[in-house]
Amino acid sequence: MPGVYLGLLIFSCAGMVVLDWRHRLFFWKSPMRAACVLAVGLLGFIAWDVWGIGERIFFRGDSPLLVGVNVGHEFPVEELFFLTLLCYMTMNLYSALSRWESGRANRTDEPRIPGSHAPAKDEIA
């Protein structure tokens, strides 16, 4: 069934977009930054793949799940979506976890003095 792999990748990427949108993690936090990070990540991983393919280390399988469109020598179109998913997932995870971590740190660091109020988020930053 050609297109199964591509379909799953697009589905997963869409999931990343929804999480990003819902929790303001990456593109919905800072669009330009996110675009630059994703661009650098994609270019780096593509260069890595091309290098590996050039050295005949890994190559495209003949799986019937692939749509059969190549964007480069031994480089199926699906790989672009896979690399996007890898970068997007890394950044969504990192963004969510660092928010969780700083939230936790703020709770424990907060001095327990009667009458003091928790500093607003902007004051800490």
Partner: protein
């Protein structure tokens, strides 16, 4: 080559990005990064096995370490590791930058001039190699942005004192750079230049590599003390011209061109054109440069001598191109407008030298016409080949 070797190089680069980001002030949350890595490793372990299992891709066993997690080669785990090392670091680094400062740094590389260095490389490479390949793309991108940041951005850092006193700087012709941006510019120049140079050195031969390094060294020598050729008469115009001729020579070397006398004639013509343009450009700054205590062809030999030198160099450029292969000699026509722009200043004095700015400004659009004309000739030449 083994997969492990590639992995080591890639992880080295990813780690370098992380370290560089930290040094530049990025605050990475290591807890978040480590937890992300754990999740990504587990996902990789599951999905890599699935993907290999259904035959989406395969490996050449001889290049592997033959250590597996299920059927996934251990090397594959470098993908999430590299991602988690480099991407959060970049994210935190970019977050520390003021968008206005980023724009200033990009402006310092003179985007209006980017094409002037990328084009000579691209045209020279394409005509000698005949194909668009990865070297063409990387080389053109390298000479488009990093090379210009290295040239103009670094130049602005070392020109700071004199530029502060020159009212002409600050518009399209240049930008006075706040002192706090000096270090970021030098760092940005290094970070954008080094990967391109390494790539080009790796794919080129000995001669092209030496020429590339000479080209980059020439750009630095122009403004960086103690060499700082821009303050040495003659050497200033020659290095400046080589900034633009250099990419063409490098392009020819990477493309494996044969150095016929006709080809040398074109390069010599281009070189004289660059020399003339630089010399004439310095005339308008005679007063400002003298006040700032900066030497140049124009301050040492005077505005009038320099204008006449520029005129003769343009003439030499027109003559040299006559010796190139057909239809090259037609390019001599493109040089004539420059003679007309420079000629009115033939009797300029040091006092009236700022007037030369008018002539220099017309270069900005004259260069576009000349570039268009040269392109037409190149296409004609390529089609006739």
């Amino acid at each position: 080559m083994s997969y492990a070797f590639i992995v080591l190089v890639v992880l080295g680069i990813a780690a370098a990005i992380a370290v560089a980001s930290l040094l530049l002030g990025a605050r990475i949350s290591w807890v978040a990064a480590s937890l992300s890595a754990v999740v990504l490793f587990i996902s990789t372990g599951i999905f890599d096995n699935l993907m290999i299992g259904v035959g989406l891709f395969a490996y050449n066993e001889d290049t592997l370490l033959r250590l597996y997690v299920g059927s996934a080669p251990i090397e594959d785990f470098a993908y999430p590791l590299a991602a988690v090392l480099a991407l959060p670091a970049l994210w935190e680094l970019f977050g520390r930058w003021d968008p206005a400062d980023v724009r200033t740094i990009i402006r310092s590389s003179r985007p209006i001039s980017w094409v002037n260095t990328a084009y000579p490389f691209a045209a020279a490479y394409l005509l000698s190699e005949g194909n668009i390949d990865s070297t063409f793309v990387v080389g053109t991108l390298f000479f488009l942005v990093p090379y210009n940041l290295l040239m103009y951005g670094v130049n602005d850092v070392f020109d700071y004192e004199s530029d502060m006193r020159n009212p002409r700087k600050g518009g399209v012709e240049g930008a006075v750079l706040p002192k706090r941006l000096h270090r970021p510019i030098l760092v940005a120049s290094a970070i954008t230049t080094i990967p391109g140079v390494i790539w080009l050195l790796a794919v080129g031969n000995l001669v092209s590599g030496i020429l590339l390094i000479a080209c980059v060294a020439g750009v630095l020598a122009y403004s960086v003390p103690p060499v700082r050729t821009k303050e040495r008469p003659v050497a200033d115009s020659i290095t400046s011209s080589l900034h633009f001729v250099g990419p063409a020579i490098v392009g020819l070397a990477f493309g494996g061109a044969t150095w016929t006398p006709q080809l040398v004639a074109i390069i010599v013509s281009f070189f004289f054109w660059g020399w003339a343009s630089h010399a004439f450009g310095a005339v308008q700054d005679v007063v400002a440069d003298r006040e700032a205590g900066i030497a140049s062809t124009a301050t040492v030999w005077g505005a009038r001598f320099t204008v006449r030198l520029a005129f003769l160099c343009y003439a030499a450029s027109a003559v040299a191109v006559l010796f190139s292969g057909w239809p090259g000699p037609l390019a001599a026509v493109l040089v004539i407008p420059y003679l007309f722009v420079v000629a009115p200043h033939w009797n300029v004095t040091d006092e009236t030298s700022p007037e030369a700015n008018r002539g220099w400004r017309s270069f900005l659009w004259l260069n576009q016409i000349a570039g268009f004309g040269v392109t037409m000739l190149l296409i004609w030449f390529a089609l006739g080949d």
